[in-house]
């Protein structure tokens, strides 16, 4: 790998300065520019869903990642030994289709010789994880699947889905012990199914009753209604929505229409600032979601959040356009940038992705990593890339405001293990 050079082709990425030219990983271009500082370039792949079933959250995520690339490139990314690194990123919209992801992965690898990829979906990230390990490409995905925790080259700045969901179950049981919970999720999507075994394990432990109901990720109003109608058979107190915001908000609307009075808690990707508007129904006090971080709007001036807003401003975005999704994209790139700043240029040049991986894993024993105040201290240990374990439950209250409850750290069940064993 890396020995041959693919044909240099002008890549049509929007901003010409950001385009990746085909070049072996970590080309040191030596002294450049008037400042006389040393620079090198690396290529990174950006795999996003702008057109598929998860594009409802994917578009903003991609926006966040892109503005992070621009922001950090502009600000300057320096290795430990002070060499400035320019990141060229190649963006591909794969429409949430794992086969396409693999096709683009190969393009990233063979044509652009990327050393890292900022990715998206659960199915594709999971199925590629062994190959990325072989190819030694760091893969920072928007999928926080528990199955990625033990994989050597996969990283994300959050607890895995299972641990997050366990926090939600803990919260439910605190609100109403012995409650009935309907699990709304797409039975054929890896992302939706991911935390289910952990939820069931946790519910059993806490004495909650759970029932499965199929809610398509590509839901429309009719199918959401059908799912809620089915859920109503079980008289639930709570519902878990394991899909993305489009599907979950439809379910909430259907529940409001059909008069189902359960509180619905959604996965991270299923709940954010736009939820009430998307649901377009009276959902006050009836919906909420999990989030490992405080949402940007509620911590505008805190370190970390500030950078996000700064980057957004630089890219010409309005302040209220910065939402949780944008921040998530921003964070993933930031984690990558953090990793670069933890290696020296020589190792980066020689070992590429492996150097980044080792840098991130050095947090296990040494200095923990923090993305401003967004995350608590994060430690990635070899074989267990689970940086922290606490999550908030964000509730859309009767007053029409979002309230952050927690953070909750699930206890008594190893949620990652439950998922790894459960499927």
């Amino acid at each position: 790998k890396g020995g041959t050079t693919a044909t240099p082709t002008a890549s049509p990425t929007a901003a010409a300065t950001q385009t990746a030219t085909a070049s072996p990983a970590g080309t040191a271009t030596g002294t450049a520019g008037a400042t006389g500082e040393k620079t090198m370039e690396i290529n990174v792949g950006l795999l996003v869903d702008l057109s598929g079933p998860t594009s409802d959250v994917g578009k903003d995520y991609a926006k966040g990642a892109e503005l992070a690339f621009k922001y950090f490139n502009e600000k300057g990314i320096y290795t430990k030994d002070g060499v400035r690194v320019k990141i060229n990123y190649v963006k591909r919209d794969y429409g949430y289709k794992p086969p396409k992801a693999e096709e683009f992965y190969r393009e990233f690898r063979d044509r652009y010789n990327v050393i890292a990829i900022v990715g998206w979906g659960t199915a594709d990230t999971e199925s590629l994880s062994d190959r990325t390990a072989k190819d030694k490409i760091v893969y920072i995905s928007a999928s926080y699947s528990a199955k990625l925790v033990p994989k050597p080259f996969n990283f994300f700045p959050a607890p895995d889905y299972s641990t997050q969901a366990c926090a939600a179950v803990t919260w439910m049981s605190q609100k109403k012990p012995g409650a009935t919970v309907v699990l709304l999720y797409d039975h054929k999507i890896a992302y939706s199914k991911s935390p289910i075994p952990a939820i069931k394990a946790m519910a059993e432990k806490l004495g909650l009753k759970v029932v499965d109901v199929d809610l398509p990720l590509k839901a429309d109003e009719a199918s959401a209604e059908a799912a809620i109608r089915e859920a109503m058979k079980y008289n639930p107190d709570f519902m878990w929505c394991g899909n993305t915001i489009g599907s979950c908000s439809l379910a909430a609307r259907a529940a409001a229409k059909l008069g189902l009075n359960a509180v619905m808690i959604a996965n991270v990707w299923g709940f954010d600032e736009r939820f009430p508007e998307l649901a377009a129904a009276d959902v006050k006090g009836k919906v909420g979601g999990v989030s490992p971080w405080i949402w940007p709007e509620y911590a505008k001036d805190k370190p970390g959040y500030r950078e996000t807003y700064e980057a957004a401003k630089m890219a010409g975005m309005k302040e209220d356009e910065v939402n949780l999704r944008v921040m998530q994209g921003f964070m993933n790139v930031w984690l990558l940038v953090k990793a670069i700043s933890m290696v020296d240029s020589k190792t980066l040049k020689e070992k590429g992705g492996e150097a980044l991986k080792e840098a991130l894993e050095s947090s296990c024993q040494g200095e923990p990593i923090k993305l401003g105040d967004i995350t608590p201290e994060m430690r990635y240990c070899p074989g267990k890339h689970l940086p922290f374990t606490s999550s908030y439950i964000v509730v859309y209250g009767e007053d029409g405001e979002f309230h952050f409850e927690g953070p909750i750290t699930p206890e008594g069940v190893d949620c990652v293990k439950a998922t790894l064993e459960g499927s």
């Binding site: 050079t5 057109s51 429409g95 794992p98 683009f104 393009e107 063979d110 199915a123 199914k193």
Partner: protein
């Protein structure tokens, strides 16, 4: 007795490579294909190998639909049958080289089942039956076969004598070898009496029956063979990919296959499929590279191209190619 003399020449007339120029071009093409990974780098080689997988599948559909006239919009689903079977076998420790043919046979079996509607239906009705079959199989894959969205392929099963067939140049050569076999056998079937029987069924099933062709069996065979190639392609897909996902086998993919056959040249098993593949898949990749994967452009450009070619070039790109050839043969005269 003209028959005696003719006997000598008939096989020559049936040969794939009839003139010296054919032989030379074939040798040159083979040499080029063999040297390609060294000349073009891994990206191009991989991409080409990936196209070959789809070429095999397109050839399959060109047999079912082009040669035998049985419209199928379930081809992708059949490819799935092969892919899942192969992937499943590798997970149970079977080597991929054994799993691929097994997948092909499985697909052939499923395809034979899918031929049932064709015994009664033709044209639009058959097309709709195949859409239904495609969706039902798709449902099966989604919910039952690989409910985790993907079925991983065991990398350890892709090793033969310590050589990793699923990676790098070897992936290319393995695919190339299997593709060449597929191409050759398909071309042979096309020129055999079985191929003629299929064409007969396509052109006029009533008189085919009266002429003594078992139409039902021929249709079933056409589906079986077409599906066999689809399954073979599915198996190759398992060789290429780390996991088999149902999104490989959507109705849209089936539509793309049908478009390949029709845009390339229906009934022209090899060249038609090849041209169709080049037109549909290659341009799709181009568009994806240029527009960062946004499918909107694929729909706009490919859709227009399909409609245009079907309307303006009934025989497909192969007719265009023939005209170009003719033009150069007669050059510089216009007729």
């Amino acid at each position: 007795m003209p028959a005696g003399v003719f006997k000598e020449t008939y096989l020559q007339q049936m040969a794939h490579l009839r003139y010296p120029i054919h032989v030379y071009s074939a040798i040159a093409a083979l040499a080029l294909l063999a040297a390609l990974p060294f000349m073009a780098g891994p990206f191009i080689a991989n991409k080409l190998a990936f196209y070959m997988v789809y070429l095999v599948a397109a050839i399959g559909l060109n047999i079912t639909t082009g040669l035998a006239g049985q419209i199928s919009l379930a081809h992708a689903a059949l490819m799935g049958a092969g892919a899942y079977t192969a992937a499943w076998l590798t997970l149970h420790g079977i080597n991929i080289l054994a799993a691929i043919p097994a997948g092909a046979l499985m697909a052939a079996a499923v395809g034979t089942l899918l031929s049932l509607p064709s015994f009664r239906l033709k044209g639009y009705y058959l097309a709709m039956a195949s859409i239904a079959a495609q969706e039902i199989l798709f449902y099966t894959y989604q919910r039952w076969v690989a409910s985790d969205q993907y079925m991983p392929v065991n990398d350890d099963a892709k090793v033969l004598l310590g050589l990793e067939l699923g990676e790098g140049k070897l992936l290319y050569y393995t695919t190339l070898a299997l593709t060449l076999i597929a191409v050759w056998t398909a071309a042979n079937i096309g020129r055999s009496s079985i191929g003629r029987a299929m064409k007969a069924v396509r052109d006029n099933d009533i008189s085919a029956e009266i002429v003594g062709i078992n139409v039902t069996r021929t249709k079933a065979l056409a589906f079986a063979i077409g599906s066999f190639y689809a399954g073979l392609a599915g198996g190759l897909l398992a060789l290429h990919l780390t996991a088999i996902d149902y999104d490989n086998f959507t109705l849209e993919q089936s539509i793309d296959f049908l478009a390949m056959v029709l845009v390339g040249g229906a009934g022209r098993i090899i060249w038609g499929s090849l041209l169709g593949l080049a037109a549909i898949m290659a341009s799709q990749s181009m568009l994806e590279m240029v527009f960062e994967g946004n499918p909107m452009y694929k729909y706009l450009v490919l859709g227009a191209a399909i409609a245009y070619f079907v309307v303006k070039e009934p025989e497909g790109l192969i007719a265009v190619l023939r005209r170009v050839k003719e033009y150069f043969r007669l050059w510089p005269y216009s007729y």
